[in-house]
Amino acid sequence: SPQERAFQERIDRGEKIEPKDWMPDGYRKTLIRQIGQHAHSEIVGQLPEGNWITRAPTLERKAILLAKVQDEAGHGLYLYCAAETLGVSRDELTMALLEGRMKYSSIFNYPTLTWADMGAVGWLVDGAAIMNQVPLQRTSYGPYARAMVRICKEESFHQRQGFDIMMKMAKGTEAQRKMAQNALDRFWFPALMMFGPSDKDSVHSAQSMAWRIKMNTNDELRQKFVDQTMPQIDYLGLTCPDPDIAWNADKGGYDFSEPDWSEFFDVLRGNGPCNADRMQARRKAWEDGAWVRDGLMAHAAKKSAQMAAE
């Protein structure tokens, strides 16, 4: 249609689409799914790190970790607000999450088993997330792009904190070094999976790229992540769990093994190590909190009735 053509031309010119502008249904739907999943990921993403807040080893580490998880809740809030501009409420999105109709990033279905995982999550998981997110600051939908600007600023800070924990562990006692290596071993391939399977064959991806909702291919970003991370692994004195990883001078990047995509799809289907625990934690928070939300609303209603009467 001419409307769609005009829309695409605006995007091609690099204009931002704003909430009140006309947009194709598919664009709206895809954005809702993508922003919603991203928001859910921030919320569920609180849990693996929250698992270690009560065991943080120093007062400062505890404060840093708490502040980080708090930032994640904040990111969730920005993103739900961005999604709301597309006409879907936070409660609707939450119900979709709790009923399993919407996903969150599979990486959060992996457990955090030692303190070194707080390092690995910050360094690798936030690292991969940033790689995904930095280009999205230039995405075509205005509210989303602006949310990403705020988020990226904080995420890179988190990544540095994670690397700092890794450093302390990798340069620490024998037990700490073990924890660090063990964390890298467990998070390496799941981090690579965060970019998604190769999108050569995906129709969705092509459309999303045209709409500038997706800015790079999954494989491009994965390569970039590996190239950035390998020197850091060396610097830490740790060993990459991929025995076949090797520098390829011709392409100016590393050759590396694909993650086990059957595991990826298994986790996506709900069979990750923590899917059930994560969903149960979120459901419990929602259900246990119902009386609080109701209580606050009831009070607010009383107050505004009072004000109206005065």
């Binding site: 929602w286 246990d288 009831a298």
Partner: protein, 249 residues
């Protein structure tokens, strides 16, 4: 142990343990805004704990750090009020405990801002601003949930009933407190009660909550006789420092 060291431990341990309890909520709050707000509360309390325990360690002069005091003392060496080690139970209990403490802490910090000990005055002045914010917030929540639905009212009343016997300890002076008050380092604890009562009465009136009649007050936290809950909390909080002694994190 000097009275000053003891007095600082009481402030430090109370903020430390309460921050720990509040941090247990992380990721499990009733709404995203509450997750953020609870983390905020926990963070400010950790900040206070770092300052009080840091000064306690300095006053002790035994080469210990705030972290040493937090992570390497045994349960009987902790000096926090019993109130703050009680379990979270539900959001209502958590907020009620917070309100009862915040009102005390706000008054305490105001007095400590004029302490004859400059270091204490400086910490208190720094902490007082954040504390004022929390004090208002927890009071607002108690009012809203007390005067919300029937269920939220019942939960807040039962939280109040459960915590009430732990309120008195905050105002009961022992020889340590008396010595510190004599020197103008701490205020006279009993003198905080009247303004605390006045404000709490206002809050409970707005919240339609009934203040329990009993004046009974559990004691023991300030002398290291705790409830069974603190020991369990410490197995978690101190785990890494205890399991891997000598490591740097």
């Amino acid at each position: 142990m000097t009275a000053l060291f003891e007095g600082l431990l009481r402030l430090g341990d109370t903020t430390l343990i309460l921050s720990h309890r509040v941090s247990e909520w992380c990721g499990h709050a009733p709404a995203l805004e509450e997750d953020i707000a609870l983390a905020n509360t926990a963070l400010d309390l950790i900040g206070q704990a770092q300052m009080w325990l840091g000064l306690a360690a300095e006053v002790e002069g035994a080469g210990r750090s705030a972290d040493d005091l937090a992570y390497l003392r045994d349960v009987w060496e902790f000096r926090n009020f019993l109130l703050v080690e009680r379990p979270n139970v539900d959001f209502g209990h958590t907020i009620m405990r917070q309100c009862l403490f915040d009102q005390w802490n706000g008054l305490m910090l105001n007095h400590l801002s004029g302490s004859t000990d400059d270091r204490i005055a400086a910490i208190a002045q720094k902490a007082a601003k954040e504390a004022a914010y929390h004090t208002e917030r927890s009071a607002d929540l108690v009012i809203a949930l007390g005067d919300g639905t029937k269920e939220s009212h019942a939960r807040m009343q039962s939280a109040l009933d459960a915590f009430w016997p732990y309120v008195g300890e905050m105002f009961t002076a022992d020889p340590v407190d008396t010595e510190l008050a004599r020197d103008g380092v701490f205020p006279d604890l009993a003198s905080l009660r009247a303004p605390w009562d006045a404000r709490i009465n206002e809050i409970f009136a707005s919240a339609t909550l009934h203040k329990p009649d009993s004046a009974f007050a559990h004691q023991g936290g300030k002398s290291g006789k705790h409830t069974e809950h603190l020991g369990h909390l410490l197995t978690t909080m101190q785990w890494l420092q205890r399991a891997y002694p000598g490591a740097t994190w």
